[in-house]
């Protein structure tokens, strides 16, 4: 049986608040409200949750959601062993028992009918019925549910039901402004502020193409990747092409335009 200590965040993850999200999150946790984090990919949603788990000193159980995930994958299932069947808790049940923060990452990837199992945990009941086992798990007082998703998906299919949405308090994340983002890249990778500033400038040039053929802008995470490559000794222009342009698109016109932007910014 895993213990709460297995899921503790041991080191402080670096997180640069953009606004008052830390205070607000603490308030939401104090009231044990389920929390939803929205925002484009690579803007710091998961990092924020990790940081808060560390700050609050609570264990964190993360589930990366996918389309093949079933309710049993969250709740648990019977397994066979030598003596017969044995119940195995799923991550959600485990978190409810241990009093952990359960973080369902990219929740829209999961099928909507699967997600209904989280409903009883997210309202005043704070319980999880295990119908196959005939048990009603009452959530530990420290338990909290956090979900994240990216509303930028163009697909209409990938959205949450209203009945799911309306159980959460929500934070809207976005890419930080350029000064803040430069600071983040610097402290994350240790490269010079001037170079970091130019990487951010390129990322912003890319973000302006969103909707003109790009589904998503260049994320902070990709800037950090480019900065790491530069830290390994790559030339800035090559690192940018590799980390910030090639991953995000296959459209030759956009690649060409962004390569030109790299040339213009780095010379």
């Amino acid at each position: 049986m895993p213990t709460a200590d297995d899921f503790r965040v041991r080191q402080e993850p670096f997180y640069q608040p953009q606004d008052k999200e830390i205070e607000l999150y603490e308030a939401a946790y104090a009231a044990r409200l389920p929390v939803m984090l929205k925002g484009p990919t690579g803007c710091g949603k998961s990092r924020c949750v990790e940081h808060m788990a560390w700050k609050l000193g609570k264990p964190l159980i993360t589930v990366a959601c996918n389309e093949d995930m079933t309710a049993a994958d969250l709740v648990g299932r019977f397994l066979l062993d030598a003596g017969g069947t044995r119940w195995q808790d799923g991550p959600l049940t485990l978190a409810a028992r241990l009093g952990a923060i359960c973080y369902l990452d990219e929740i829209v990837e999961a099928r909507q009918d699967t997600l209904v199992v989280i409903h009883p945990l997210t309202d005043h009941r704070r319980t999880l019925p295990l119908d196959k086992k005939g048990e009603l798990v009452a959530a530990h007082p420290d338990f909290q549910l956090v979900i994240s998703y990216n509303p930028g998906y163009q697909s209409l299919v990938k959205d949450l039901k209203q009945s799911t949405k309306q159980r959460f308090a929500a934070f809207q994340f976005d890419y930080p402004n350029s000064a803040l983002e430069t600071a983040i890249v610097c402290s994350e990778t240790g490269i010079a502020a001037d170079l970091a500033g130019r990487l951010v400038e390129l990322a912003q040039a890319g973000r302006r193409l969103k909707g003109h053929g790009l589904d998503e802008g260049i994320s902070t995470r990709l800037i950090v990747y480019a900065a790491r490559l530069i830290g390994q000794g790559s030339a800035p222009a090559e690192a940018c092409r590799m980390a910030m342009v090639r991953p995000i698109t296959d459209d030759p016109d956009i690649i060409d335009s962004l390569d030109h932007a790299i040339g213009a910014i780095f010379g």
């Binding site: 193409l209 040339g263 010379g267």
Partner: protein
């Protein structure tokens, strides 16, 4: 002796020339044309400059021959005047035999009159070609064109002159200025194939008067075409300058004067093609232009121009342009290389201020000194002002106003008497990425520079009915290239008829419908499917698990796959049914007296009903064509429409006529289908014959185009399937659709077969 009534003509052979040598040459020429005699002295002097003494006799001899051809004074005149220009680039001993051979051939054919334009433009052509080999190719092209476009009335003898040749020879220098010789050859081939035997069309094409001729020539041009990079440029504008103004090309091919890019109210105007220059690619040159224009839009403020002289304004523009470039380089340091490569470096001693107007030359040097820190101009004044410019820029508070003051100070101190001269030194002074600065000036009073001009009231345009046409290219297999914007497709909702007719048709096929219904129920997707015997399922399959446990405890190998999972099996299909509505559908079927069209209508109604039962997304459209200028595409049912009375009414009203230009219809249908986000996208074509149209004589042309359209669709993930009602279709349909086709020999079976084929395709 004077004969009364006959005008005395002085014999030109007796004319006196300027010097004895010219006189001797004139005597050799033995030419009686007064117009030749008039210019002979000057021409001879010019020829003596260009030709060596050894070459002169051959020159005179050729002129003599041309005078004796019996084609008037024009050929010798054109040769006398043009030949020195030819010899300036191609040696006479190489060029002359080639020319003589061509002259002989043309002279013997009905195309003799084309000799005059040939000789007239030969000088300009040679300047472009610059080698004997290229000249040989050019002359061969001309002879080839003559041979292929000359007509004959009876039998083998060529009796009619080519209408294309003189036109081609006249525009040849213009053509060669735009495209290399190989491009001219392709353009020529296209022209011969397109215009075929129509003399008028040939003439239009080869004189560059018809739009397709210009469009095809544009395609052959070297360099970066605006149309090819338009999207990239717009994306760069958006990402670097946050500017989404429209980019509009202007033509550079058919105008004489050089035009600069400019800012207009409706967008940024750029040339339609740019070649690589100074190591900077065409697309980078476009981007330099756009950066400069965007810089003006961002940092320049208009000035009132009324009180300034043109000279002062020129200086202000030079300083302001330099300021914009400096700001661009400051913002995007990587653009520095491009701008400096494109900005000319005029040599200080290139012109003489005592004889020429060197204003532009000095300003370009100044502008170079302002934007290039490594350039030091020898003139102390220019150096001083470049320093003052740099100081202003470094302060960070430079504005258009400040530049104007600096420019006025410069204009006052740098003035020279020669600045009023008409002869301006232009070489190396064009900074071609800069615009014409029309946005920089506002005029309080309309001065005499601008003409006040009210456009004449235009007649009210007739209101367009329906949507404007959408243009599609067409594939030309012979030249392996697309003909740009070749076909106009007009789309419209089909007018409605009586929906009850379709219901009656369906009622007639009630037995068939019942049989289909049973089949459909089998195919119809079940919402959830249980998948047993999974190693990793969603839950335990208790029956299997217990069996496994029994096996385990009795010492046998247990079944490991004891879980069960559930899968949703949905059909995710979009289908577009495209009906050929050409005239041949009006043929009646032997026996029943029913038209093919009626049978097709029944089949489509049944299929639409079946697809509706299945729940797949389905659209129905019909097409026919009347030359490439009018392909009609009728919407009968949209993807989002239900199979209801409005749709049935449209289907009931379908009538057949005209021809089958299938490629364009496929492209248009594919475009609509490509917008669907379905797993499988299917384009079903129902036709009764091969692609054909009345403006196309080559039967393989539309066939190849349709095949190309099908492979384009395949590349974008759309499957095409053809159901042909033409019993002889085997000969061609496989060429177009590969293995995705079926020929229906007995058309009466169509209503039964069509839904079945669809089911098989999507099973």
């Amino acid at each position: 002796m004077a004969v009364p009534g006959i005008r005395q003509v002085a014999d030109a052979r007796q004319r006196l020339m300027a010097n004895p040598e010219a006189q001797a040459a004139w005597a050799t020429l033995d030419c009686g044309f007064a117009s030749v005699a008039d210019v002979f002295d000057d021409c001879y002097a010019a020829a003596k400059q260009a030709l060596t003494d050894d070459e002169l006799p051959a020159f005179i001899e050729t002129t003599r021959r041309l005078g004796k051809l019996g084609r008037g004074a024009e050929p010798p005149l054109a040769f006398l005047e043009g030949w020195p220009r030819v010899v300036a680039t191609i040696p006479q001993n190489e060029a002359l035999p080639l020319l003589l051979e061509t002259i002989d051939e043309l002279q013997k054919s009905p195309n003799g009159p084309a000799l005059t334009p040939l000789l007239q433009t030969l000088g300009g052509v040679a300047e472009r070609l610059r080698s004997a080999l290229a000249l040989e190719h050019y002359l061969r092209l001309a002879r080839d064109l003559a041979a292929r476009t000359s007509g004959s009335i009876h039998g083998r003898q060529v009796t009619q002159a080519s209408p294309a040749l003189p036109e081609f020879l006249r525009v040849a220098p213009q053509l060669l200025a735009l495209v290399p010789l190989a491009g001219v050859r392709r353009w020529l081939e296209d022209g011969i194939r397109l215009s075929g035997d129509h003399p008028e069309r040939l003439r239009e094409y080869f004189a560059l008067r018809s739009p397709e001729s210009r469009a095809l020539l544009q395609q052959q041009r070297a360099g970066t075409l605006f149309a090819d990079v338009e999207r990239r440029l717009a994306l760069s504008q958006q990402s670097l300058w946050q500017d989404d103004s429209r980019l509009i090309p202007y033509s550079t091919a058919f105008v004489d004067q050089v035009q600069q890019p400019y800012l207009a109210a409706d967008g940024m105007r750029l040339p339609d093609v740019l070649e690589k220059r100074a190591g900077v690619s065409g697309s980078d040159r476009y981007r330099a232009m756009l950066a400069h224009l965007s810089g003006h839009r961002r940092w320049s403020t208009p000035l009132v121009a009324d009180n300034w002289s043109p000279l002062q304004r020129l200086s202000v523009e030079a300083f302001e342009d330099a300021r914009i470039d400096a700001l661009i380089v400051h913002r995007y340091p990587g653009l520095r290389r491009i701008l400096l490569a494109l900005h000319p470096i005029p040599a200080a001693g290139a012109c003489d201020p005592a004889r020429e107007n060197t204003l532009r030359h000095r300003l370009t040097r100044l502008s170079r000194a302002c934007i290039d820190r490594d350039y030091r101009d020898p003139a102390p004044l220019i150096d001083e002002f470049a320093g003052r410019f740099a100081a202003l820029q470094a302060g960070g508070n430079a504005s258009t106003r400040a530049m104007a003051e600096l420019a006025l100070a410069y204009a006052t101190r740098s003035r020279l008497p020669s600045d009023q001269f008409a002869q301006v030194h232009f070489a190396e002074t064009e900074v071609d990425y800069r615009d014409d600065n029309r946005h920089l000036w506002t005029f309080i009073e309309t001065g005499d520079e601008e003409e006040s001009f009210t456009p004449p009231p235009r007649a009210a345009e007739p209101e367009a009915s329906g949507l404007p046409p959408r243009h599609y290219p067409e594939w030309d297999a012979a030249s392996q290239s697309y003909r740009p914007d070749w076909v106009a497709v007009y789309e419209a909702l089909h007018p409605a008829g009586r929906a009850a007719d379709i219901d009656a048709l369906l009622a007639r096929h009630a037995v068939l419908a019942r049989r289909l219904k049973r089949l459909l129920d089998l195919v119809k997707p079940q919402a959830r499917v249980r998948e047993r015997y999974r190693e990793n399922g969603s839950e335990l399959d208790l029956d299997v698990a217990i069996d496994a446990l029994v096996d385990w405890q009795s010492g046998r190998l247990p079944e490991a796959r004891i879980e069960i999972s559930q899968r949703t099996a949905g059909r995710d299909i979009s289908v577009l049914l495209l009906l050929d509505l050409s005239q041949s559908l009006n043929a009646t079927l032997p026996g029943s007296g029913q038209r093919v069209l009626d049978t097709a209508r029944e089949a489509v109604a049944l299929l639409a009903w079946a697809i509706d039962q299945l729940g797949d997304a389905c659209a129905i459209a019909g097409f026919h064509s009347n030359t490439r200028h009018e392909v009609r595409y009728h919407h009968l049912k949209g993807f989002s429409e239900a199979w209801d009375d409005t749709v049935k009414a449209r289907l009931a009203a379908v009538e057949a006529g005209w021809s089958t230009r299938m490629g364009a219809a496929l492209r248009h249908g594919g475009r609509l289908l490509a917008a669907r986000r379905s797993e499988k996208r299917l384009l079903l074509v129902l036709t009764d014959g091969e692609p054909a149209d009345i403006d196309v004589s080559d039967p393989d042309y539309l066939l190849a185009d349709t095949r190309q359209a099908v492979s384009e669709l395949a590349a974008s993930g759309i499957d095409c399937f053809c159901l042909s009602l033409d019993p002889k279709a085997d000969a061609y349909v496989a060429q177009i659709f590969g293995r995705r086709w079926r020929v229906l020999d007995r058309i009466e079976q169509l209503p039964e077969q069509l839904p079945l084929i669809y089911l098989n395709l999507t099973r």
